[in-house]
Symmetry: D2
Subunit: 166 residues, 4 copies
């Protein structure tokens, strides 16, 4: 028998929050954020449905990353096709608190009231938040990143993970 490791690897978990009806630019940003998260070896957490959530999962899965979808309903099959770990909460919109609580840091891409609730709950739970596209969160005292790469880098730095080498 080989020596058992003292603990397993625990990659950082970054949530990407955003609406289900984003514009084309938000879709590109969300997908780029998902790619950057996976390339950094982090796990993507999201709400598991369409729009920004699907774009981020597609980006992360293209890079071979792990994608967790925290779903409002009871049926894991409702997740978008790029969610590898669908988690059916059955808790409806109260699951928004879980999306951000499950992550070490949060990147928000536009969105409306649902995304704003996730941003606010993240701050209540003391999870760092970076705005990639501000949406309804514009005007709040939160950092705004220039692009997806910067947003993910800032989110990872907030978790204590050094920026990935080029």
């Amino acid at each position: 028998m080989t020596t058992r490791p003292a603990r397993v690897l625990r990659p950082p978990r970054i949530a990407v929050c955003g609406g289900s009806s984003p514009d084309a630019e938000e879709m590109r940003e969300a997908e780029a954020a998902g790619r950057a998260i996976a390339r950094a070896g982090a796990i993507l957490v999201c709400g598991g449905l369409g729009g920004v959530m699907a774009a981020a999962c597609r980006g992360a899965s293209d890079e071979g990353g792990t994608t967790i979808g925290v779903l409002p309903g009871r049926d894991p099959a409702a997740a978008n096709p790029w969610v590898g770990v669908p988690l059916a909460t059955g808790m409806g919109d109260a699951r928004n608190a879980l999306v951000v609580s499950f992550a070490d840091a949060v990147v928000a891409v536009g969105g409306a009231w649902g995304t704003l609730s996730e941003v606010a709950l993240a701050r209540v739970l003391e999870r760092p938040v970076v705005l990639l596209r501000p949406g309804l969160a514009r005007g709040l005292p939160l950092p705004v990143a220039a692009d997806a790469a910067a947003a993910v880098e800032e989110a990872l730095a907030a978790c204590g993970v050094p920026a990935a080498a080029g």
Copy 2:
């Protein structure tokens, strides 16, 4: 046997949301909102703790109203002294979704991230929101009331309850 009524009275439920460290003006407004809710025959719902929550409960209980406190912890004894119905969720800050979901309409009095999360969750759940003191919610597309009486009147009207006679 007497005739059984077809259904019981179901008074409207108005949530008052706000922080645990309000300024003096916010305390006065919260207490006045609580009074107005009770005078209208509505039930006050809040987070059950101190600050704005306690002031609203004090106002409502002074008028003989029913006060519900939706607590983050497991111990109902943690409620402020003017909560008649302490509901211990044990769900931490995820209880913010319940505070607004339990109400027909929401009045927000100042506050920081927690209150903002309640405002946003209320809109996700399609509960009408009236800002009495905007706090972090300033700038959002929500009605701002001139004073507590107007805020409660507007909240009740949004539930379909006519304004109380003088």
Copy 3:
């Protein structure tokens, strides 16, 4: 200004748990339990839907008691007609934890897996449980009451409330 009371009355809250398809005897027992809870000045908490929940609410409301329904869905109008305070959790079956957490003690009337989950969660949360009809909970180390009056008396005693005078 009159002297403000130091705190409001906080009546005990007793949950009645049971299934939505009880037999006639369970319906009678649930209604009698609701009556006994209201006569003792306690608040009835239940899941807010039909079957045992509706029977208990009918009994309590016949006696002028307060009835709280902790609903799985988002719509308070889904409560049975004898619920005076419908609380829409939107949390699906995860609301079972709230039904018992909101109460000081629990009376179970028959039921299947849902009721068993409430009984078990009540014990996790250290809420006393009295079985009126054991249902799936038969065989568990829990007290079984002879009738509804005894069940409610035992539940109230477990909360520290003395038995009501004749």
Copy 4:
């Protein structure tokens, strides 16, 4: 650009439930169940703490499997060292509903009220349950497996996954 896959792999998720103070035999069974889950390519879901949860995670991680810990508190660092994906719910014991809701099937190893609540909630949510050590669930209409390998095989079969080749 390479052809994007239509969807990502979505391995089955099996929950192992059990208490934090198991006996030595329960620890061995839990670890063996964790190993069997990982060997089958499934993901282990558990409550993330000690006892049966830690033993199952240790077994699964020894085999290179993915381990998810659904924690009651807010701090992911509270997970046992063999949890690779710690999910901090902040929901206290109400998280029991999530442990089983996140899984396709459940294996229970002994345990007391908490485990019984998970077994009952799993049935409410129509997740198949296999008892490896019955604990308080003895007497309930649920299948009891002869050993850990059989329990995991039965759980996977209930999810529609064929038994692993020898």
